[in-house]
Symmetry: C2
Subunit: 186 residues, 2 copies
Amino acid sequence: MPVATDRTRRPFAMDDAVAILERTPAALDALLRGLPDGWIAAHEGGDTWRPFDIVGHLIHGERTDWVPRARIILEHGEARAFDTFDRLAQFVESEKRTLASLLNEFAATRRESLRALEALRLTGAELDRRGQHPELGIVTLRQLLATWVAHDLDHLAQVARVLARQYSDEVGPWRAYLRIISGRQG
Amino acid sequence: MPVATDRTRRPFAMDDAVAILERTPAALDALLRGLPDGWIAAHEGGDTWRPFDIVGHLIHGERTDWVPRARIILEHGEARAFDTFDRLAQFVESEKRTLASLLNEFAATRRESLRALEALRLTGAELDRRGQHPELGIVTLRQLLATWVAHDLDHLAQVARVLARQYSDEVGPWRAYLRIISGRQG
């Protein structure tokens, strides 16, 4: 391995971003497919999400968020705000689905998204194009694509956290060492 | 899916625990194998760990922590404290290794650990057996095994966080929505 130097920030690069985006469905699949239902239905209380819901949310993002918003930026720039993203769509769309079928669909829709992204053959100048987020205001296409990557990883971490916290009591004194349970920041 | 009821805690059950433990190596493999080196060498500043280091740490745990400590509890109970776990061992052991070889080794050592665990055919009474942690004091075998599961998930979330935070600046205004970057608790 190369010696770690200043590795705390990474400028956006399309190949790097795609390398993560193309791996997320397989990582979630490896973690979740075939797990006992109790894990899949686990949540953190209140209206927090189950791993089942999170996969549905990721599918909805492929269909309505990332590539569609990239197209809005390219076609309309700041003149047309993005459609609002429905953070709760999966509670209707995933009803009566199995986790296995959702994982299959996430993998398929992600492949389609990455084919569409590649077909756009975005230039540096296009990555600088600006769009209008309905709440956040001006954003760039580069920021949208970087967010796609971070959003995947955010939800992968969320799945891990939801599962781990099921054992908040069972770990006993080790709770103090487990940042994912204690919530300690680092 | 079953309707979510009280799904915020889950009592330890061996089959549930093994279901997670046997999936972690494949999940990390799917996420990390073949990623550009810059992602593998990413960290969060100071002496925080790279994904590369985290895989090494998990291997070290298979060799010296989980099953070895289970055996100490079964053989010695509270009479013999666990050996202290070396949280930095991977910085020596992983030197000059490739990520691919570490991922292979983690998968192989985990399979060995799970075979050894199964061979113990632990009873409920044995899961209640108590041991002596050098810092935390009295712990049970059940707590040790629950911690093994949560520890896997903690480091999977850590890998996702280390990667996501590389784009802390690149996501621009979306930073406010990305809990993995903002550090916001929920």
